[in-house]
Amino acid sequence: MTLPAALFYVTAALMLFTALRTVTATHIFRAALYLAATLALMAVQYLLLKAEFVAVVQLLVYVGAVIILIIFAVMLTAQLGDERVSQTNRLALPAALGCGLAFIGLSKALLATDWSAVTPAQAQPAIQGASGNLQAIGLSLLSDYIYPFELVGLILFTALIGAVLIARKDPE
């Protein structure tokens, strides 16, 4: 087995473990740390798929920003010593059954599909003359994807204002 293949399986196993702990940990702060580990391991998967820019963005945005936000929310809201109360509701057993069945159904469908029929495309690069992943993404962000790019900026701006409005104290 080559090194990237071995790395894939090790990372995948670690990811499944940390993801399971994220949804089952009794302490919500620990769950946040396990989520951070899952997201960092996801960046490794992106690197293995040769998507360097996406991996770096994943680390910056998720592990850097979203996890900090989540930990802030945990600190602001949770009574951290409060471990006696069960963290899962009474749906746990049916939900586990349902999700397990969903997973079995999905993997059956995936394995029944003949993926060898889907051949890798041998098309030209989307952006001519770009050297490397980063430059290609930068060029296509400002050419092919300029409208979604601007729109997503607007959405971020709106979400920022909305979050400030929702979370502020009511002026009394």
Partner: protein
């Protein structure tokens, strides 16, 4: 065995189902949001895997993933603001305590 499309898709399906389980069972609203992030990430892995393994020259999957990450960040911001606001109003972040609209 070199990981191909099925391996990536099965990993992604497993992560998605784990996230779904978390969304359904977590009582803490922050926990529900964390499980949602897990599900979004599972889908992102699909997109990047299809891009990287089936069409390495194209960028569509990676671009879509970048946009999904941005939207997920916006979603997390607003969601956590809602949680903080809920905590102010009810002194609790349990989802079953937010039942004002229950008939």
């Amino acid at each position: 065995m070199t990981p191909g499309i099925p391996q990536y898709l099965i990993l992604s399906a497993a992560l998605f189902c784990i996230g779904l389980f978390g969304v359904l069972t977590r009582r803490n609203a922050v926990g529900v949001l964390m499980s949602l992030e897990l599900m979004l990430n599972a889908v992102n892995l699909n997109l990047v895997a299809f891009n990287g393994l089936l069409h390495p020259a194209a960028l569509s999957g990676q671009m879509l993933t970048l946009f999904t990450i941005t939207i997920a960040a916006a979603e997390a911001t607003v969601g956590l603001a809602l949680v903080v606001s809920l905590f102010r109003a009810r002194r609790s972040v349990r989802v079953e305590d937010a039942d004002l609209l229950k008939g």
